[in-house]
Symmetry: C2
Subunit: 213 residues, 2 copies
């Protein structure tokens, strides 16, 4: 099973500490590809429309990656969606970490949070994690799931991205039992009691965010 | 009609330039209240559980506002939801700008984007704007709406926060006609052709984000 780290073009100040030391293969998405080259991280794939980089910057990207995919800027996919589709096509069991999602355009951040709802990505939702300095976002489809506490992260938030007929959080600090969720909604600032927590959803899809101040 | 500016506790680096000069009444939400005092902005209301400020900081807040509401930290509402409910109770036609939503906890940002879906806030959705340095987020319920271009913002993104049976964008650079949206989804990086753009949604609720790099 491969691990891919997709670096997208958000604010570098929001990246987690020592992000360069993560294990796995690096994929540079648009301006994220340039950042990888500048950090002297060897990436396997660069992908994007590269609209926002100069010709000289693009030459640097082309030299720094084994493979470069230049997308048409007129497209329905975002660069990140195209990158995600590409790495899941290489290994459909891959774990995919997406870094650089925050601190800039909120439309892009929301696109990255919501793309797991698309039919083509939904069955891979549990393989995807969005990571920045203060947040780790994971996703769960229907069923009962165990969440492991990340060291140093205080808060545990549950964000149904769809309606859910019955949501149960029965071993967290604040509990819900077969709670009906009519719309997407953020239930924030819950906390772990132990080193793991359980979420059960009858249907739909939920984002689970571990965060810290 | 009143204008309220709610300052919440996100990263101050993400606030728009000259945010201090906005017209309207200032409301400080939790750590945002302390920031207003430190900026010597006179606020009409400070609200929050103030869990994250020291006793000395809280005394500064108490001295800097006409009115201070200290919430129980064990509550279902977020501080921002409580503040929004409070100002809509003062004037249910108020325009409400929310600043300081980004750059920190993504669970808080998502809570602020999704709270307009709650039954108690939904009819006020079109009165609410979330603003940071690179983004202006507005909300529309079903019907046909005109969006005005904000100077200096290049991109226009449409983010249905609910399923929509028919979504039409017929005077934007990239168009949709009676498009069925099965889940929340971000349609990003559209653009204005003129100084206004039209969105039509048959049902549901959409966030519209003007953003820039």
């Amino acid at each position: 099973m491969k691990i891919f780290n997709l670096l997208v073009g958000g604010d570098p100040a929001n990246l987690p500490e020592n992000w360069q030391e993560l294990d796995g293969e690096w994929v540079g998405v648009d301006r994220g590809a340039l950042r990888l080259v500048n950090e002297q991280l060897k990436g396997s794939l660069a992908i994007g429309d590269f609209d926002s980089v100069s010709e000289a910057e693009f030459a640097k990207v082309a030299a720094g990656f084994d493979r470069v995919v230049k997308l048409n800027p007129i497209k329905d996919d975002t660069d990140t969606e195209a990158a995600l589709a590409k790495v899941l096509n290489i290994d459909d069991h891959a774990q995919v970490r997406i870094l650089g999602v925050s601190g800039g355009r909120i439309d892009h951040l929301l696109a990255n949070v919501l793309m797991v709802l698309e039919a083509r990505f939904r069955r891979f939702a549990e393989q995807i994690t969005l990571i920045d300095r203060q947040n780790r976002i994971t996703f769960f489809n229907s069923g009962k799931h165990t969440i492991k506490k990340e060291a140093g992260f205080k808060y545990l938030s549950f964000i149904p991205l769809t309606p859910i007929d019955a949501l149960t959080l029965d071993d967290e600090k604040y509990q819900l039992h077969n709670h009906m969720v009519p719309n997407a909604r953020a239930y924030v600032s819950n906390e772990f009691i132990g080193s793991t927590a359980t979420v059960y959803l009858s249907n739909g899809l939920i984002a689970v965010i571990q965060s810290k101040d």
